[in-house]
Symmetry: C2
Subunit: 153 residues, 2 copies
Amino acid sequence: MNIGETSRASGVSVKMIRYYESIRLIKSPLRTESGYRVYSDNDVHTLRFISQARDLGFSVEQMEDLLALWRDRSRASGDVKAIALQHIDALQEKARALQAMSDTLQHLADHCQGDDRPECPIIEGFASAVAPEAKKRQPRFGVTGIDPRAHSH
Amino acid sequence: MNIGETSRASGVSVKMIRYYESIRLIKSPLRTESGYRVYSDNDVHTLRFISQARDLGFSVEQMEDLLALWRDRSRASGDVKAIALQHIDALQEKARALQAMSDTLQHLADHCQGDDRPECPIIEGFASAVAPEAKKRQPRFGVTGIDPRAHSH
DNA sequence: GTAAGCCTTCCAACGGTTGGAGGGTCAAGA
DNA sequence: TCTTGACCCTCCAACCGTTGGAAGGCTTAC
């Protein structure tokens, strides 16, 4: 199976398959005489797993753990569970952070008339909300693991 | 007020203030004879607004809209509310997806506990959960406007 | 006068993904 | 057999938001 077919079967773009290989997330496949990459059904399976995890905001670093969890089926179940629980905590924390953002916005929106008059609590809330000295400067989105790219150019 | 003082007053780093200027999110400030940037209280206010919106996961692109609305006294609060509500939906959807992933992993962890046999059908199910042809390839994190950087290096 | 701490610009890196250039390979149809 | 078009290859650059660092100028206090 060549890379294009593999891409269609897995839902991972050709570009990303090659990228994942370059960062050693997946292993280098065999090549034909002419240099074409050749993949197996198992590789497709792995890529589908990766795609799934990426869709939910896992970093590549985390995916290495997840892949190990997935592949190392004969490992001690205690170790496996520890890794799984760690990822669950991370997921819960991300979901919580997103929910907090949503709640804050919802609260502001609730107090906004939404008509054509200029008064708007959302805007006012943004402008005056936080005393900056109370803010701890920490990685702004480190918790959430989601990306701000708003458009594919 | 120089840039350092402005940074401390607004909670936006010196680097980011210059970056926001470079992408024209904020306008270029006046300079002293020696080239130092000079900011007003109003600029601090604007930066605080920006910082707040970024904390809530708005992209720079979205902030341009919000800033325009903020500055335009005649804007309809309905416009602002529409942007906020759209954002709330995106955040909710992302939180929901993360929660589903967490549930799946929890299920996996529960099942694997104390089981020394290599078979793990739940892992198999997780790996092949999504039929790739059912996936629409869309900007992966475009909706939420949040960033995957997990660590400040 | 000198050291500390500002400030300036410029250049690079991160992660994850995409686009494109410039070129080789394969299969089908004329 | 020869061409055509769809594939494949590698390499380089861009995107976003943010940070770090280098190399140098300015201001202030001792």
